[in-house]
Symmetry: C3
């Protein structure tokens, strides 16, 4: 009897800990985007997505890892890095649905305006963006199946994306 109880307590602990680890794995995955993309590691950025993962952003639409890696290697992106750039993502809010999940966060793309270092406001905010992530549990861990990103410039899709993300709904 006591063994049954202890076994069921163990099982419950395992389930709860699974959820905690899933949430932390997803926040860690999303927290790796900024360092990888500002560090120019094209393969690592692409590897955050599933093989056929999609990154649907107002400035472009990428499908599959080779298009994601090409974005990082593009002249435009390399120019941001060479000039000084931070893709600064906020803390992700995660909703778990078993083997899939939805996450949401804001980001700021901050760029060096080329002013002399040490002068006030040498950096500027190019974009504030809403990000919605649909994630799947893959063999190698959690991966992004679809990321939908819209600039917060007043277009109605961006606020709508934030609400769908934080309530765990698909984009």
């Amino acid at each position: 009897m006591s063994d049954v109880t202890e076994s069921s307590r163990l099982e419950l602990l395992e389930e709860r800990l699974n959820r905690v680890e899933d949430e932390l794995a997803i926040t860690r995955l999303i927290a790796s985007y900024g360092p990888f993309v500002d560090g120019g590691d094209a393969e690592a950025v692409a590897g955050m997505w599933t093989e056929d993962g999609v990154y649907d952003v107002d400035e472009g639409h990428m499908a599959g890892r080779s298009q994601l890696a090409a974005m990082v290697r593009s002249r435009a992106h390399q120019g941001w890095i060479a000039g000084g750039c931070a893709h600064f993502l906020g803390p992700a809010h995660v909703t778990l649905h078993g083997d899939t999940a939805v996450a949401v966060c804001h980001s700021l793309m901050v760029i060096n305006n080329g002013g002399e270092f040490g002068q006030d406001a040498a950096f500027g905010v190019r974009r504030a963006t809403a990000h919605h992530f649909e994630l799947v549990r893959a063999e190698e861990g959690w991966r992004v199946a679809r990321r939908t990103s819209r600039v917060l410039d007043g277009r109605p899709e961006a606020p709508a994306l934030l609400v769908r993300g934080v309530t765990g709904q698909p984009a």
Copy 2:
């Protein structure tokens, strides 16, 4: 004897996991503020607080969920959303005190300056703010009992609020 030991190990695990889940629940709650408020979901913003919860910010004082929802529905707030706006909160630092907790974070309120999209520095930082949260465990989960927010413009309350928050003291 071994059963006793295993039972006490189970108990300790349960207590530790409770604390981890509390901390994650609070960081998730705070991470939902930006998406809900920039998404214009007045009921969801208000629902983050207890029924009679307080939001004491230098620009206004709200008490109770109806005043919180009214802030989100106000012409001023709807204007921020329509123009393009990010309430970008940083990672919350949480101190648990059993059924109450204190959390602290910075935020940046970033707004679209109306410049043409794609031009450098189309967005500006309207406010950098210190936020102090006093939270309580309610039946429906953790809720904000009092949030105290002061702009970091040199007024001494704002730095003091950060230190009280990160050391787990009331505002």
Copy 3:
């Protein structure tokens, strides 16, 4: 037999929970930097590091807690606080290596430009910075042994630091 199984399940749970708690302790430590430094708490900032911990930043090199505390008490830093300042760190990505760990995040140093409060863009971004943390488990908890920080103004060390941080390598 069942006892052996339950004991090994307990052991595995304990190991997994240890890792979760380590990760949360480190993210909490890093999330305390902004509130302590913007709050001017020199002893608390210094106490985040080991006794002989190093903070190697492009604007200066500090070794040991007394130099760290002196930075917070310096005329320059006190001037930032008096004028209005946010050291806004993003969510840290943590890689655990037993009793040591590596973490990485971006930060924005946002300052009040002295414009009248309520006017648009009263604040500016002085720096966007890459931060790499090497941490050790001390008796009193996790502490920073070495923090290496470089401004993201195009100098190649800064992107390199982000990649080394997110892949768990030393600076």
